[in-house]
Every structure is written in C-alpha cells, then in structure tokens.
Amino acid sequence: MGHVSAPLLAAHAISLERGGRELFQDLSFEVLPGHLLQIEGPNGAGKTSLIRILAGLSRYGFDGRVSRYTALLYLGHQSGVKALLTPRENLAWHVAGEGQYSDEQIETALAKVGLYGFEDVPSHALSAGQHRRVNLARLYLSQCPLWLLDEPFTAIDKTGVLELEALLVRHVEAGGAVVMTSHQALQVTYEVRYLSLVEGLIL
C-alpha cells in the first residue's frame, strides 16, 4: 500500500491480569484497512478476553485504552441464534441495528452460507454448525469495515472454512480489516499478520 491510511482500531498499552496471572502486558498495535490479523496463543492465553476488550464488551478490569474509529462487527462464541425463531428471523434481527435489509438480501446471505431451503425452519431443528452459519451470514450483509471474529471456524465443515476464508480475503482486499482468533492457521494467499499476546504484533 503506497499511502498511509487511518487506523480502524488502535490499542494503547493494554495489560490484563486474571486471577493473579499476567495474561498480557503493554500490548499496543493498530489495525489498518487491509489488515488480516490473527491473534495467536495457547488456550487460556487471553485471546477471547483481548477480542472482547477490543470490541468494547469488556470495559473494566484491564489497563490501557482502545480507540475505535469505525463501526465494528463482533462474532463471539455464542451464536445469538434464538431456537424459537427461524434463520430468516434470526438473521434479520442480527442485522437490524445496522440497517434495513430486504427479504431477498437475507435469503441470498443465508444461501451463501448453505442454508438455502432452511430459511423458515425453526432454528431448534438445526444443528450447532447451522446455527453458526446463520451467524456467519451476517458477514455477507454487514457494511462494517472492521470484523472481530472469535473462533469463527468452530463447528464449520471443510468447505465452509474455505468459503469463509475466501470471504475474509475479499473483505480485507476491499479495504476492510479482520481481527480473529483461530486454532488453525489460515490457508489464504493473502498476507496474514500475527499478533502474539506475548510479543505483540509480528510483521
């Protein structure tokens, strides 16, 4: 990238301790458009805690400051899918805060995550993986430049993973940014930046 673009998110000297243990200390980094950032660390290293801090869900109990310059989309461990609502209703509600989407747009997004034909089935009849897909369908509709994804590949099959990886690359290529945690390495032909909770940003 030739020009210096404005950051979408900046973390300033974030430190976190839980139960007397330093999880990470003085973590500072910026997320710029085009960044595909994967947070690395073993289980219990504080990956989820960091993503929640970045999203603004955790507001106490850590030192440092997070500056958010744009609308962000956060997908956590819980799918937020109501068993009593259909995938169509669930997705329509999930995106309701961001804008008005037509029925066709919702259907297209659901079809893209492989839920074609399941639009009006009650969600309690769907599997955990399908709940996850309803959740991920948001990514096809969202206008948010910054995505914070916590373990997005959980309960997703192989083809689903490939599609999702392609979607992430399309998003960052279009000027968005992704911060994500994952146990598996991303199989993409795009430059992935790694954020180590111990060493900070690795370029």
């Binding site: 999203a55 603004g56 869900l57 955790s58 507001r59 106490y60 109990g61 609308a71 962000l72 956060y74 956590g76 461990h77 819980q78 799918s79 937020g80 899918v81 109501k82 009593l84 609502l85 209703e89 509600w93 999930h94 309701a96 805060g97 961001e98 804008g99 008005q100 206008q143």
Partner: protein, 228 residues
C-alpha cells in the same frame, strides 16, 4: 446503508420479544396460573368468610401481582444473555436506553397488562366490591409498569450470575414497597367510597420517574453483567 432510527429499532425489538413469547405460550400462561393458584391459597389460609376476604382482597391481589411480576422479571434478559444476543444488542449502533425500554415494554405487556385484564375475575372470587374493580385494574396497569421497570434493574444486575433467582428478590422487593403501598391504598379507597384519584396520580408519578431513570440503571447493569 444507514442504521434505522432508534424508535424503529425499539419497535422491532418489542416485536421480536412478543413473537418469542407467543411461540412459547407457557411463558405467558405461567404468571396467570400463578396468580390464580395463589388467589386460591388465601381463602384456604385465612378462612372462607366472605367479609374477611373482601377486607383483605386489595392487599392480597396486589401482593400476588407483585410476586408474579418478580418471578417473571428474572427471565427478562437471561436467555438473551446466555445465547449471546445481549452482547450483540450492546454493540449495535443504537442507544441502549431505548432498546431496554422495548424489553420492559414486552415484559409489561405479557405480565402486567394481562394480569390487570384478568384481575377482575380474581377480584370477584375474593368478594372485592364491584365498585372497586375498575380502580383495581387501573392501579395494576400503572403499578405493574413501575414493577416491571424496577424489576428489570434487578434482572440486569443479576443476569450474569449463575444463581440470580433468589438474589433478585432481595434486591428488588424493598424497591417494590412504595408501589404496593399506594396500589393497595388506591383499591382500599375505592372500596370505602373515597376518591382513589390521588393514589393513582402518585402511581402515575412513580411510573414517570421510573421510565426516566430506570433504563439508565438497567443499561449500566447490562454493561456490567456482560463484562463480568
């Protein structure tokens, strides 16, 4: 694409809550059943003498309404907290003050309004004079709004806790007491033929204050609970 107006969003949330309630009708039926069964307990405990029951009826009806409100308020945010919908609501580019009102509105429609509408039946079972039934319904309509608003504060503060059920009554019941005092006083005034208007006016004033202030506390409570 621009985000929808906050009022529009609030209406949408209200509709979602009502759809969820309608799809699980037992949730709507439970408070009513509870109301009916506890009404049946009082003659068994106090004796069936009609005069005596009539004397206690305003208090009995109000206490049961209060308890059924309390029992249901614990669940207002719980399922949304557990499945992650609440996180998404906090992150949505919408004012939480307004969104929270949708939750309270849905809770009031499902418990407060329904209880107020069926209360005349139970009032007659307890021999409450017919002249006081109108006041009972009105006082329940106004008072249960306050109860829902206050109860949701307790719900928001305890939603992150594994065993919030007992705790919420400890937090919320002391705050319910003024509503109980004026609600039952309004009905008693109507029974004796005195003017119930002043009491209803005070209940209305409490409702206004609660609408203005309690969403602030609920929003703060939800942010804290999500964090814990």
């Amino acid at each position: 694409m621009s985000p929808p107006g906050s009022l529009q969003f609030c209406v949408r949330l209200l509709r979602r809550q009502l759809v969820l309630a309608v799809r699980r009708p037992i949730e709507i039926g439970n408070p009513l059943l509870f109301f009916a069964m506890v009404v049946a307990l009082f003659p068994l405990g106090l004796g069936p003498a009609p005069d005596q029951l009539a004397g206690f009826a305003p208090g009995i009806l109000w206490i049961i309404a209060l308890l059924s409100n309390l029992l249901t308020s614990d669940a207002v945010f719980r399922s949304d907290f557990e499945d992650g919908s609440l996180e998404q609501l906090l992150l949505a580019p919408q004012p939480l003050f307004i969104s929270v009102l949708a939750y309270i509105g849905a809770h009031w429609l499902i418990t407060g309004l329904l209880l107020a509408l069926v209360s005349p039946v139970f009032a007659l079972m307890l021999n409450l004079p017919g002249s006081a039934v109108g006041t009972l319904v009105l006082s329940l309509l106004l008072g249960s709004g306050v109860l829902s608003l206050v109860g949701c504060i307790g719900a928001a503060l305890t939603v992150g806790l594994k065993r919030g059920g007992m705790l919420i009554s400890l937090l919320v019941l002391p705050l319910y007491m003024p509503v109980l005092i004026f609600g039952s006083a309004a009905v008693k005034a109507a029974v004796t033929g005195a003017a119930a208007g002043p009491y209803l006016a005070i209940l209305g004033a409490m409702l206004c204050l609660a609408i203005a202030l309690s969403p602030l506390a609920i929003a703060a409570g939800l942010r804290i609970s999500i964090d814990a």
